[in-house]
């Protein structure tokens, strides 16, 4: 098994895909290296959150995804 990375909302457009499989384990540096420079810039922003295994990380730099984990990249939610 691997780590499943999900691009949510507008991030899917920027990434040009909705998901991506990556070898486990996956940490913050590994994630940034895996995505395009544009996506890396986006997810490094404070207002983008990351969930791992269904929980939003309070500090996304502590990401430590294991085999089978789902890592969701969560841009800020829409207003309105």
């Amino acid at each position: 098994m691997a780590v499943r990375i999900l691009f949510l909302g507008p991030l899917a457009d920027i990434a040009g895909r909705q998901e991506l499989a990556a070898p486990a384990p996956l940490d913050w540096a590994g994630l940034l290296a895996l995505v395009s420079a544009e996506v890396a810039d986006q997810i490094a922003e404070d207002r983008v959150n990351i969930a791992c295994g269904g929980r939003v990380l309070s500090d996304k730099r502590t990401l430590a995804a294991q085999d089978g984990d789902e890592v969701a990249l969560l841009p800020p939610v829409s207003g309105g």
Binding site: L8, P10, D13, R47, A72, L74, V77, S78, G79
Partner: protein
Amino acid sequence: MKSRFCRRSAADSCMALRDVRLVAEPFDSAELVERAFSEVPDTGGVCTFTGKVRGSGGVEALELTHYEPLTLPGMHDLADAAFTRFDLLGLLMVHRIGQMVPGDDIVCVSAAAMHRRDAIDAADFCMDHLKSAAWFWKREKRSDGWHWIEPVPSDHASLARWK
């Protein structure tokens, strides 16, 4: 999807009605509220907020994307917070997902309480927190295609009212 929720502080009954759900099809807010609260005794006031898809600006359709592992648990946590904070007899929280058209209901929050203040404040509180509790991304279809709706900074001001 209706469930009963036990409020520790309830005086004469530990049953309060609670209905929290996501729906992928059009729904009728008025009918849901009517059905949900018709059996709740001692209700003195019901406050219902319904958010709708606006047709202004040439919007042809609206799509709501969510992240399932966070959305429904987030809505349930918010309902817990509302029951703890306000003296409620019932709470309905329904959110539409997927594609919808102008005039469709997007969200309905309805709170029933003995007293007016609790009903109004609970509905207001839930609407203010729904966007941070659940995770929804919206995009609009106009004649030139789909456009993501940006986050609105003023939402933070609304949230700060409840600190």
